[in-house]
């Protein structure tokens, strides 16, 4: 296979057709039926049939037969399906309803007191079919455009075999194999770059258009597109566990978790149709029986009811809106795991942030080293760096980064991490504690406070205080903007949770405009704190407000699951985060939280517009029909017209601003 530049298109995209075969056949049939209908209509209206045939009745029957032709061409499949489905006991199926309504319109010819309704019967069937075709086209199109959006699945991997590069299915590549990714190709599997350097386009995963630089030793993630150089990658995960597979699986499964509104609509539809059909029957039979007089008028009103009784507009447009919202969000690198979460997110009233990795970028830097008198600053840093030698905590990393000398592991012994407090270690046979003031007081060491804000890392040696190191975390550039955007989106309260000291938290909260903060929390305290906030949020106002928790997804899985809705940030490549959260932000920009809420609100807005619009029009037409004002045309509009408009509206949910 040869690629003449550009990005290779994955399999699913090769056949790009606007209509499938079945739809094209239906379209041709409808066009034919409409043409015939027009001819018949002209004949019936303009030709003096009655004078030619000698009598009015004969003319009527000829018209009847003529209109029957386009009617049957357009609607024979509806009639057939209706007949079949009655056999299956599906009485309230839309084919059946449409058949009864149109046959009824034709049958009005039997009532000599009424005007003929054959033209209306045939036209109703035609419009119904046009509407159905459009529905199936629109739904197919949105299915496709969402599939295209998620079109990040790689086609092949280049593997070297017998000195030649061959393309193999990514499934066949094992962990540890080396693959080659050429410019323009999609990275097929997660791995580490072993040779070469390049720029990666991560837009399909994160929505971020700035390319990411990669070099030897960097981890890269499947689904990105290699933009410039040739790179060789050692595969670290089998295809099934790669980022691409996990994302696709997640989005595919999103449709399974249905929103309350969605379930409400399907439940509603179950009662709506039988109820309307029941009223239609009563309307056609009771008034003429009780009041006497003309049957045809009341029968016609009943038939109009039947046309309006199909709940399709609602039943299609509601899931379509949710699906569109989820699809649109995924284009921005916001993965929502289900319609229900989109619904909950739209009601977020309180947003709780974990500070580190969420509002701050988690890259701590040592900003000051303050040794106690008589201690060399380098020695202080060296002791701290050795004590933290085995820890992966961001603070430990920054201390090691600040220490320029080598770390001699021979000197370190008996290291114990004290979660949330610090670390205890034996270095050169001296007992060393490195950690916060709580740790110091726990081991009976007096520590000195510092005038700088930041995380203060106190160090003690054999029970003697030898100074502290000040570490500050860098606030993300768009954090303040993100908090402001949340407030603009209608979030009432923002809370920051942190293991840090109060003054550090206060400084960050003030800078970002966050309402409240809770400090010096251990990981387990965060759950308790979120539970308290949950109670407050649910007790507040109408009780419908929800609490969203935003974390980096690595240490806060329990909190993510406890909150009404858990949002994990910077999840690209983090399995734990993708697992625990309900909403996954692929990149680590806090401004995407507000965008996610924005998309959720917009989607819910569209859902409710459709519900109110569809039901409103239907009820209005029902009332008008009951009092005898509405005709068949209006009824067809209330059925397919409304469905079409609702679908078009639902498709708006897919459009999101980049």
């Amino acid at each position: 296979m040869k690629h003449s530049g550009g990005v290779p298109r994955p399999r699913s995209n090769r056949k790009l057709k606007s209509m499938n075969k079945k739809q094209k056949r239906t379209r041709n049939r409808i066009v034919l039926a409409i043409a015939l209908f027009a001819v018949v209509y002209v004949i019936a209206e303009l030709m003096p049939l009655a004078t030619w045939l000698g009598s009015e009745t004969a003319a009527l029957w000829v018209e009847f037969a003529l209109f029957l032709v386009p009617y049957l061409i357009a609607g024979y499949d509806v009639l057939l399906r209706a007949a079949k489905n009655i056999g299956h006991g599906q009485v309230f199926d839309e084919n059946f309803l449409m058949s009864v309504a149109t046959i009824g319109a034709f049958a009005l010819v039997l009532f000599p007191d009424s005007d003929p309704h054959m033209a209306e019967g045939a036209a109703v069937m035609l419009f119904y079919q046009v509407g159905e075709l459009f529905q199936s086209y629109a739904v197919g199109k949105s299915r496709k455009s969402i599939a295209d959006m998620m079109d990040i699945a790689p086609d092949f991997a280049n593997v070297e075999r017998d000195g030649r590069l061959v393309q193999v299915d990514p499934y066949e590549v094992a962990v540890g194999d080396e693959i080659v990714v050429k410019a323009g190709e999609r990275v097929p599997l997660d791995g580490v770059v072993v040779r070469g350097s390049s720029q990666l386009d991560t837009a399909a995963l994160t929505g971020e258009s700035v390319p990411r630089e990669v070099r030897e030793g960097d981890e890269i993630i499947s689904g990105c597109v290699n933009m410039s150089g040739l790179i060789t990658v050692r595969v670290t995960k089998p295809y099934r566990e790669s980022t691409v597979s996990r994302i696709l699986e997640l989005v595919e499964n999103a449709a399974e978790k249905k929103a309350k509104t969605e379930n409400f609509i399907t439940r509603f539809a179950r009662y709506y149709t039988p109820a309307v059909v029941g009223i239609a029957a009563l309307l056609a039979i009771m008034p003429p029986l009780l009041l006497g007089g003309g049957w045809s008028d009341w029968v016609q009103r009943g038939l109009i009811f039947l046309v309006v009784s199909c709940p399709c507009a609602l039943v299609i447009s509601v899931p379509l809106s949710f699906f569109g919202g989820i699809g649109g969000a995924s284009r921005l690198g916001i993965l929502v795991k289900g319609s229900n979460y989109l619904e909950t997110l739209s009601r977020a009233e309180t947003v709780v942030f974990d500070k580190t990795g969420t509002l701050t970028d988690g890259s701590f830097n040592v900003v000051a080293v303050h040794p106690a008198s008589g201690i060399d600053p380098d020695r202080l840093l060296s002791i701290a760096a050795h004590a933290e030698a085995y820890s992966n905590h961001p603070i430990a990393l920054s201390v090691r980064a600040a220490y320029s000398g080598p770390i001699d592991q021979q000197r370190i012994d008996d290291v114990q991490e004290q979660s949330g407090h610090g670390v205890r270690a034996r270095i050169d046979e001296h007992v060393v504690y490195v950690g916060n003031d709580k740790l110091m007081s726990a081991c009976g060491v007096d520590c000195r406070d510092c005038e700088l804000t930041g995380t203060i890392l106190h160090v003690s040696l054999d029970g003697e205080y030898i100074g502290h190191i000040v570490i500050a975390d860098v606030i993300k550039p768009d954090a303040a903007e993100a908090v402001a955007a949340l407030r603009a989106a209608g979030v009432k309260k923002t809370v920051m949770l942190t293991g840090d000291r109060a003054d550090v938290a206060a400084a960050v909260a003030k800078e970002l405009g966050i309402n409240e903060f809770r400090t010096q929390l251990l990981p387990q305290d965060k759950v308790a704190e979120v539970e308290k906030l949950l109670e407050e949020t649910h007790a507040h106002g109408t009780g419908k407000g929800k609490l969203a928790f935003v974390g980096d997804g690595i240490n806060d899985a329990p909190v993510l699951t406890r909150a009404d809705i858990g949002i994990a940030m910077g999840a690209m490549g983090s399995d734990a985060a993708i697992e625990a959260a309900d909403v996954v932000l692929m990149d680590d920009k806090p401004s995407n939280i507000a965008r996610a809420i924005g998309i959720a609100r917009k989607t819910m807005g569209i859902v409710w517009q459709n519900i109110v619009f569809a039901l409103g029009v239907k009820f209005l037409v029902l009332i008008l029909a009951a009092v005898g004002i509405a005709n068949m045309w209006l009824a067809v509009f209330a059925d397919v017209g409304v469905a079409v408009i609702a679908i078009l509206n639902a498709m708006r949910a897919m459009n999101v601003k980049k």
């Binding site: 299956h88 599906q90 949105s142 299915r143 449709a255 539809a269 199909c310 039943v315 899931p319």
Partner: protein, 72 residues
């Protein structure tokens, strides 16, 4: 066991809702969802009667939408 299947020719949203309801009522089915948008059926049922459940589900679907086929 929990498995997902593609539904071919699922053309009507209301039918999808009816199918979901019908499949949920089959003996041995713990949970079932039919998604109109993704044209997927996800079914969770006891292992020992899974095939029987699936046959029953196909019958239920055909009753509601004769063209609709569960691809397995």
């Amino acid at each position: 066991m929990r498995k997902a299947f593609k539904l071919q020719d699922l053309d009507c949203a209301n039918c999808a809702a009816k199918m979901e309801n019908a499949i949920k009522g089959i003996d041995g089915v713990k949970s079932a969802t039919v998604s109109f948008m993704t044209q997927k059926l996800v079914i969770e049922a006891d292992d020992d009667c899974f095939d029987a459940v699936l046959d029953e589900a196909q019958r239920a679907c055909s009753k509601i939408e004769p063209d609709c086929v569960i691809l397995r």
